[in-house]
Amino acid sequence: MVATAVMVSVLAVLAWLLWLSRDVPARAPSSRSVGAAALVLVPLWLALVVFYAPLEVTQGVLQKIFYVHIPAIIPTYFGFTLSALGGAMFLRTRDDRWDHLALAGAEVGVVFCSLMLLVGPIWAKPAWGHWWVWDLRLTTTLMLWFIYVAYLFLRSFAFGSDTAKTFAAVYGIAGLAAIPFVYFAVDLAQGSTMHPSDPSREGLPAEMGRTVGAGMVAFVWIFGWLVAKRLELAFLQARALAPRAGEGV
């Protein structure tokens, strides 16, 4: 049931963002309701974290970081997929609206990705004594972060705006294709040696599952709202750069 709620949220936000990106200026006000939804979901999730989720046996209260670390996975991958999708559609249609979506997805995605990389060590240090642990999830997240950052560098370094958009779109596709291989490669490289025991690996008690799910749903709506805001910005910036109506090109 939790998984369904998360999937429905993801699909709803995806559909909304796709719709929004077609006509940002007219449809921007719809983000107000999304923002409101996020504002309701966040305290709900926090309440679950504090009062509903049981204390875990080995790590005690420290384990509660789990409920902010894991939910961030969804927007991280959502952002990347959105960016690759926007890029692919831009290649086919040359419609700048798709490119704005690609950029917004990448930027907000990298924010959540960075968040995971910041929270991970905050959890790892007290839990396992090291700031960094080479576990599968954290390492793959780091690789994903590198790909994100490379994408954003490419956009800022490439000559001429249309070329930058095209090249970035191609890299987004290449990056997305690389991810499953990176995941498999990291798993392979680490063998079975250094996995810190992780509650999400073994079966999760139902209350924990629901709390994580609530976090995921909340984060997905926050993600959606942030992407909408970034889309508005992209649209404004494009308008600021565009030639005025009636001016010669």
Binding site: V61, I65, V68, L115, I122, L226, R230, L233, L236
Partner: protein
């Protein structure tokens, strides 16, 4: 209360800071872009 609660609070605080910080940065950029658009019209 487990004294490691400090770490937990740090994790949630960092999350809030990053997300709010990014939203603020978007707002600032948006104001700048609006000014640019108005200056042109």
């Amino acid at each position: 209360m487990d004294d490691r609660i400090g770490w937990v609070l740090a994790a949630y605080a960092v999350t809030a800071l990053v997300l709010v910080g990014y939203a603020l940065q978007l707002r600032l950029a948006r104001s700048a872009a609006l000014r640019d658009v108005q200056r042109r019209s």
